[in-house]
Symmetry: C2
Subunit: 412 residues, 2 copies
């Protein structure tokens, strides 16, 4: 299984990526619409699309209604053309996902977490898991684009492809990506959970390609992945979107990050569980995620105390969303991750309310709020989408030049 087998030539790299991304975002689209959307000429679209069809990535799926002349040929991504594997490493467990080009989940399974095992052993185990499932579900290995691996917390940009604390101290100096590339025989990408979840949402959530949106991810902590114009915004050291550690109360409680009044310290799962325990709610006490799940279920049943505690958390999450929206002028905030998967029905209305009432540019446009369709496995799905994105649409930025450089930017 070679790396380049499923790879694609660099020809037409940027337009190819943009066109592919538009096809993905639209679901179904014609060449004519692509010319309008990209600003390229019909001739270029024709040749690039021809190439995409020859590569098997795109299918012609019928004709549109005629508008007086030759009817347009409709194009779609071939969801079965390529696949990617996504892995979410967490102390709670390892979640695996195999996704296809359409962002649909082909296989999904869970295994116990790495614990304190030797990294090399864990890598071998992961390799075995993937090989076995790929064979079992009958995915052609030649169509596997790569493996995305995601974990909470920042990825080390310096030591090259290793995970850093806070979560998995044993792994600090282990060259995870290289080891996995050897074990799995696929290119490997690392990233953090929130960023991956954002790309996952972008890829499988049918989000329009020009949008500025953020995925608020609540798992162990609270983070956000930011996507602008189809590319991840990473900031200067890949630590952008740390919305869990913005201060919303100068006199708030201390946070593990060293600051006080952080959103995470006030509204994160650990804080919620602690507040519930202080309030006398009975919880199993076998870890924060399980306790949070119990609490969320109690709130869903309408129990007073749990609802009150989660609503308080939701208020702060709303502030985090509002902050993101004000700073980045977002169109959309997606709530995702295990915590919102469990308690989304409580959080969504509160976040919606806050954005409707307090988003600064609300007069100009609203900020939509949505809950991810894959919230529980968002990180793993995102890990797979990371690979799809980087292999199929590694574009730098938008490709339209403004018609004239000296004009007021006319954002939507």
């Amino acid at each position: 299984m070679s790396h380049s087998q499923a790879g694609l030539g660099a020809a037409h790299a940027s337009s190819r990526a943009a066109i592919l991304d538009l096809i993905r975002a639209s679901g179904t689209i014609s060449r004519v619409e692509l010319t309008r959307a990209t600003g390229l000429t019909a001739a270029t679209i024709s040749t690039v699309v021809r190439r995409l069809i020859d590569d098997g990535l795109v299918l012609e799926v019928g004709r549109a209604e005629s508008t007086g002349g030759k009817p347009r040929m409709l194009l779609e991504l071939d969801p079965l053309a390529r696949y990617a594997v996504g892995v979410h490493l967490d102390h709670a467990g390892i979640t695996y996902v195999i996704a296809n080009l359409g962002g649909a989940i082909v296989a999904r399974w869970k295994r116990p977490g790495a614990g304190s095992d030797d990294p090399r052993e864990v890598v071998a185990r992961i390799g075995g898991e993937i090989a076995a499932t790929v064979a079992r579900v009958g995915v052609d290995p030649a169509r596997l684009l790569g493996l995305g691996v995601v974990s909470p917390g920042p990825i080390s940009a310096f030591t090259g492809m290793t995970l850093t604390p806070p979560v998995m101290q044993a792994w600090t100096e282990f060259p995870l990506a290289a080891a996995l590339e050897d074990a799995v025989g696929l290119p490997v990408l690392l990233d953090n959970d929130a960023t991956a979840a954002a790309i996952g949402e972008y890829w499988s959530g049918g989000i329009t390609s020009g949008a500025a949106f953020a995925a608020l991810y609540m798992g162990t902590g609270i983070g956000a992945g930011i996507i602008v114009d189809g590319t991840v915004y990473r900031g200067s050291s890949s630590n952008a979107g740390e919305v869990g550690h913005i201060c919303v109360d100068l006199d708030g409680p201390p946070c593990w990050c060293g600051s006080v009044g952080c959103v995470e310290a006030l509204a994160g799962p650990a804080a919620v569980v602690a507040a519930a325990r202080d309030a006398g709610v009975e919880l199993p006490g076998r870890g924060v995620s399980e306790d949070f799940a119990v609490l969320a279920r109690a709130a869903a049943r309408g129990e007073e105390q749990p609802m009150r505690i989660l609503r308080r958390s939701a208020r702060y999450v709303g502030v985090a969303a509002q902050t993101l929206a004000n700073v980045l002028d977002l169109e959309l905030v997606v709530l995702t991750g295990p915590a919102f998967a469990l308690a989304g029905s409580l959080y969504v209305p509160e976040v919606e309310r806050r954005l409707a009432q307090s988003f600064f540019a609300r007069g100009s446009h609203p900020v939509r709020v949505a809950i991810s369709t894959n919230a529980p496995e968002a990180a793993a799905v995102g890990a797979a989408a990371l690979v799809l994105q980087s292999e199929l649409a590694p574009r730098q930025a938008g490709m339209r030049m403004p018609e004239r450089s000296l004009e007021v930017p006319t954002g939507t």
Copy 2:
């Protein structure tokens, strides 16, 4: 005075812009360094630089030390090659600036504000002011690239080139840009003060081209301009950076924007002045900006009450800076605008302290804090820089493709 006269061909548009930007950022640089920094080949650099020299934008200013072979030829921007006019419209007054390519101020003057005059009259007045001063200081009109106009508050993206409330209600439906283009005979750009201040800082502050940084602007309100990789981040409706209206206190005072606990409502000039008056500090009462100036001077003299009030404001500004830095993973925050020009010595240490102690990724890299060298006229200088940027470096985004697409991003 035609528009295209000083314009530049679109040839080599993107690399040309990137190279020009690198020369600007470095001050002095050689072709070899440009090849390294851009990733382009020596051949390309050679031809593009040749063109820049032919256009008169760049000068060869001597040789570097030999490193064993032919010494490098050093390149610099010719600051006198082009000029731009910047205008800052505010109710307090109209500030004019003529800046050269180096971002240096060639002329600077102030006139009373527009008041309730007829927009057409004001436009004529502005045109006269500019023509007179251009003639007086001896700037060759053919070298004038354009006119940047800046005002507080958002720019209307819909009605096309007009100012919107909150500030200048009379101007809502007036086609300012078109009218000014006619009156001045130059291309006109509109933007808001914070964004312009950020570009101004980028252009004249010698900021490295790859940086992610924000300019915190405190004038009438509090806003921020965000620059990533040499381009303004505007968000989906050009309202990004509204850091004055992030919530830092859920139970805080109401803000004119309709929310509560906004940074601006707690720490903006109006809030500071109001707090001072409540505390019994004597102020002239002829407008917020003058009252703020009196207060800042009193604090600079060491008066207890004013210092206490400004420090409280500085704490919130620190939180705003921290929020920006956490969300965007910034390397640098520049404080600018009239308010920081007056009271920067009080605000800078507080913001520095907060970022050093509470920026989430402080383990990875620090966030530098600086005060603008042009803080009082930052908006007007930025207006001029807006023109320089858009005429000379209208690039879309960074131009380096990663060596290999499947790798962890290795931000600095």
